[in-house]
C-alpha cells in the first residue's frame, strides 16, 4: 500500500533522509523536491475537490492550509521567486507575469477590492455584481431551462490565480516537473476562462454554486444582471422566506425586485410588462 522507502519528510531539519549524501546542498534539494511534490499533490487534490459539486469542506480547508504553509516556506526560502522567474522565461506575457508576482507578494491581509467575474463564459458576460456582505463568494442563479452564468469573486490570495492556472493548464503541470507547479501563476485577471476557474474561494463557495453550462441567451443574461443574488443565499432565504424556493426560469423574471427587498412580495413588476401594467401594479402595492 505504501511505496517502499517512504520516509517522514518535510520536518524542519530534514535529517531523516539518510540515503542522501551528507552535503547540505543535496539534502536541501531533495527536501525541496519532496516539498514540491507535496505541493503538487495538494494542488491536484484541491482541483479534484473543485470538480465535485459539493466537496468536503473540512478536507478542502485542511489541504488549502497545507498548500499555504508550503508556499510560505517556499517564499521565505526564496525558492518561490526563483520559480517565478523560471516560469516567466517560459514566455508568458509581461502583464500576466507582473500580476502573478504582485499577487504572490501581496500579503493575505491586504484586502484589495475583489474582482468579480463570471465563471462560466458565454460571449460578452464578464462581470456580475454579487451583492451584500453575507453572500458567499459564489452564488448561483439556478435555471434548468437555460443555464445562466455564474458569478464568482476573484480573491487576491495567491492561491486563487495559482489554482486557476492549474485548472487551465493541467498538461503543463504534469510535464514541467522542474520547479513545476509554477503554471499556477498564470493569471486569470481577464477571467476569460473556458472552464470554470476553480479557486479556493470557489471551493468554499461551491455549496452555493451550481455549475451550470453556459447559456446562449444574452438577453436573459442582461436581465439577470440586475437580480439581487443575495436572494439565493441560504441565510437570506431562511430569514426572509417560509419555504425553500423551487424556482423555474420565469419565476426569476417575476422576482426582479429592488435589492434587499423581501423576495416574498406577491406581485412584483414583471420587467417585460408595459409601463401601464407596472403603474397598475404599483397602485395595488401602494394601495392608493
Amino acid at each position: 500500500m505504501f511505496s517502499k522507502g517512504t520516509k517522514r519528510k518535510f520536518s524542519d531539519g530534514g535529517e531523516e533522509i539518510s540515503d542522501e549524501s551528507l552535503l547540505g546542498a543535496r539534502v536541501a534539494s531533495s527536501y525541496s523536491l519532496q516539498r514540491q511534490s507535496l505541493l503538487d499533490m495538494s494542488l491536484i487534490k484541491l482541483q479534484l475537490c473543485h470538480m465535485l459539486v459539493e466537496p468536503n469542506l473540512c478536507r478542502s480547508v485542511l489541504i488549502a492550509n497545507t498548500v499555504r504553509q508550503i508556499q510560505e516556506e517556499m517564499t521565505h526560502d526564496g525558492s518561490w521567486h526563483m520559480v517565478t522567474e523560471a516560469f516567466c522565461s517560459a514566455g508568458q506575457s509581461p502583464s500576466e507575469r507582473l500580476v502573478a508576482t504582485e499577487v504572490l507578494c501581496r500579503s493575505r491581509e491586504q484586502d484589495a477590492e475583489p474582482k468579480l467575474f463570471s465563471v462560466i463564459s458565454y460571449e460578452g458576460c464578464r462581470e456580475e455584481e454579487v451583492v451584500a456582505d453575507e453572500t458567499l463568494c459564489s452564488v448561483s442563479v439556478s435555471d434548468t431551462v437555460s443555464n445562466v452564468c455564474l458569478a464568482g469573486r476573484m480573491g487576491q490570495c495567491w492561491e486563487k490565480s495559482e489554482l486557476s492556472g492549474v485548472e487551465r493548464d493541467e498538461e503543463a503541470l504534469e510535464d514541467s516537473r522542474l520547479g513545476s507547479g509554477e503554471d499556477e501563476e498564470i493569471d486569470t485577471e481577464d477571467g476569460a476562462s473556458t472552464e470554470s476557474p476553480k479557486t479556493i474561494g470557489q471551493v468554499f463557495g461551491t455549496f452555493e454554486i451550481k455549475n451550470g453550462s453556459p447559456g446562449p441567451d444574452s438577453a436573459l443574461e442582461e436581465l439577470f444582471s440586475d437580480v439581487d443574488t443575495s436572494y439565493y443565499d441560504l441565510d437570506t432565504m431562511l430569514t426572509g422566506m417560509q419555504s425553500a424556493p423551487k424556482m423555474g426560469p420565469y419565476d426569476l423574471l417575476d422576482s426582479l425586485a429592488p435589492s434587499h427587498s423581501s423576495p416574498s412580495i406577491v406581485s412584483t413588476p414583471n420587467c417585460r410588462s408595459d409601463l401601464n401594467e407596472l403603474d397598475h401594479i404599483m397602485e395595488i402595492i401602494v394601495g392608493s
Binding site: 505504501f2 499533490m41 468536503n56 453575507e134
Partner: protein, 427 residues
C-alpha cells in the same frame, strides 16, 4: 467476548440508548437498525442478554436540492437517543442537512369488534348494524413501529457533523462545518444560531467546526472542536451568539515534531464529555486526549492510538486516509476509553492502570463466544509471531464508530458494514 455480526450497508453511526437496552445503528443507505437486548434468563446465570434486531426503518431518503443542483446524501451521520420518558423510545437521526425525531413504539394489542368496520377494515353495510358493542383489546404479535414525529430541516447550509441532546431534555444542538444551531424538540420551523464561524469572505476560511456536544449536566454549556485542534467551551447564558468562548483548550505544538502534516493530524474528529462532566476527550488522527475542563493549556492524559503511522503520513495523505474521522467513547464509569484504528483494530485504554489493548473485529479471527486475542503491530525490525507489520495493515478496514454500553462492559464496534457486539464474560 461473544460476537454478533450483521451484514448490511456501510454503518455510519452507532449509539446505545440511555439504559443500554437498545442499540441503534445508522447506515449509508439512510436506514436505522435498532437492536434490543434480550431479557436475561434467570436460569442461565452466566449468560448476558444478546442483542437482536428490534426495528428497522428508513430514516432518510436521498434528496435533490433543486436550487443548488445538488444531491443530498441519505447517509445517517449521527443518531442520538432521548432519555426515555414513557413506554415509547425517541431518537434523533441526522443526515447532512436534516434531523428527524423518530418515535419507536410497541404494539402488542389490537382492538377488535368495531361497530362500523369489519375485521379487515371494510366498512360495514349500515343496514346490518343492529347492535352497539364496545371493541375489545386482543393480544397480537408484537409489532414495533417507527414513526417520524418531527422533521427539523432547512437550517444547515453545510454538512451536519454532530447532534447532541441537552440535559434539559427540551433542546438539542446541531452542528455543521461553520455553524451550530440550538433547537427546541417541539419546534421545527425555527432554530437559534448560537455559533457562526463563517468569515465574511469565504476565501479567508482556514478553520471549520468538526464536532460539538452539550455538557451532560450543565444545560448552558457546550463544547465544539475545530480542524485546528482546538476546543472551545461556550456558555449560552453569556450571549445569544456564542462566538466568544468561555474556555479555549489547545495544546501547544511540539516544535520538534512539526511537519507539513501537523495541522491535519491535529484536526479533532470527535469530542465527548465524560459521564461525570468533569472531563472531555478528543480524538485527533494519531491520539486520544483527555482534558480536565478546569485546565485549558494542555490535556491531562494523552494516549497514542497508532503512533507507528507517524512515519507514513505522506502516504496516508496521498491515499486520503489522513482525513479519516475516528470517534471515541467512554465507558460507563469513565475509567476506560475506546477508539478505532485500521485493519479492523480498535484500542481500549484503562485510565487507572494505564494499560492498553488492541483488539480486532473480524469474523475470521473470532468465533462466537471465543475470547478476543490481543493484537500487536510491529513497527520495525524483527516481526514476532502473531504480530502484524505496519506495511501489511489494511487501510480500507477502518473502525470509525464504536460505542460503549452506559453501564456494563458491552461494546459495539462497526467495521465497515458489519456490526460487532462484544460482551465481557464475568465468571
Amino acid at each position: 467476548f461473544s460476537e454478533k455480526g450483521q451484514s448490511a450497508d456501510i454503518i455510519s453511526t452507532v449509539e446505545f440508548n440511555c439504559s443500554g437496552e437498545l442499540l441503534a445503528t445508522g447506515d449509508k443507505g439512510g436506514r436505522v437498525v435498532i437492536f434490543q437486548r434480550e431479557q436475561e434468563s434467570k436460569n442461565r446465570l452466566l449468560s448476558r442478554g444478546e442483542y437482536n434486531v428490534y426495528s428497522t426503518f428508513q430514516s432518510h431518503e436521498p434528496e435533490f436540492d433543486y436550487l443548488k443542483s445538488l444531491e443530498i446524501e441519505e447517509k445517517i451521520n449521527k443518531i442520538r437517543w432521548l432519555p426515555q420518558q414513557n413506554a415509547a423510545h425517541f431518537l434523533l437521526s441526522a443526515n447532512d442537512k436534516t434531523i428527524k425525531l423518530w418515535k419507536i413504539s410497541e404494539r402488542d394489542k389490537r382492538a377488535e369488534g368495531y361497530n362500523l368496520k369489519d375485521e379487515d377494515g371494510r366498512l360495514r353495510d349500515q343496514f346490518r348494524i343492529t347492535t352497539l358493542r364496545v371493541p375489545v383489546l386482543m393480544p397480537m404479535d408484537l409489532m414495533v413501529e417507527a414513526s417520524p414525529r418531527r422533521i427539523f430541516a432547512n437550517a444547515h447550509t453545510y454538512h451536519i457533523n454532530s447532534i447532541s441532546v441537552n440535559s434539559d431534555y427540551e433542546t438539542y444542538l446541531s452542528a455543521d462545518d461553520l455553524r451550530i444551531n440550538l433547537w427546541h424538540l417541539e419546534i421545527t420551523d425555527r432554530s437559534f444560531n448560537i455559533v457562526d464561524i463563517k468569515p465574511a469572505n469565504m476565501e479567508e476560511l482556514t478553520e471549520v467546526i468538526t464536532a460539538a456536544e452539550c455538557h451532560p449536566h450543565q444545560c448552558n454549556a457546550f463544547v465544539y472542536s475545530s480542524s485546528k485542534g482546538t476546543i472551545r467551551l461556550c456558555d449560552m447564558r453569556a450571549a445569544a451568539l456564542c462566538d466568544r468562548h468561555s474556555k479555549f483548550f489547545e495544546e501547544p505544538e511540539d516544535p520538534s515534531s512539526r511537519s507539513f502534516f501537523s495541522e491535519i493530524i491535529s484536526s479533532i474528529s470527535d469530542v465527548k464529555f465524560s459521564h461525570s462532566g468533569r472531563y472531555m476527550m478528543t480524538r485527533d488522527y494519531l491520539s486520544v486526549k483527555v482534558w480536565d475542563l478546569n485546565m485549558e493549556n494542555r490535556p491531562v492524559e494523552t494516549y497514542q492510538v497508532h503512533e507507528y503511522l507517524r512515519s507514513k503520513l505522506c502516504s496516508l495523505y496521498e491515499n486520503d486516509c489522513i482525513f479519516d474521522k475516528f470517534e471515541c467513547c467512554w465507558n460507563g464509569s469513565d475509567s476506560a476509553i475506546m477508539t478505532g484504528s485500521y485493519n479492523n483494530f480498535f484500542r481500549m485504554f484503562d485510565r487507572n492502570t494505564r494499560r492498553d489493548i488492541t483488539l480486532e473485529a473480524s469474523r475470521e479471527n473470532s468465533k462466537p463466544r471465543a475470547m478476543l486475542k490481543p493484537r500487536k503491530v510491529c513497527t520495525g525490525g524483527k516481526r514476532k509471531k502473531d504480530e502484524i507489520s505496519v506495511d501489511s495493515l489494511d487501510f480500507n478496514k477502518k473502525i470509525l464508530h464504536t460505542a460503549w454500553h452506559p453501564k456494563e462492559n458491552v461494546i459495539a464496534v462497526a467495521a465497515t458494514n458489519n456490526l460487532y457486539i462484544f460482551q465481557d464474560k464475568i465468571n
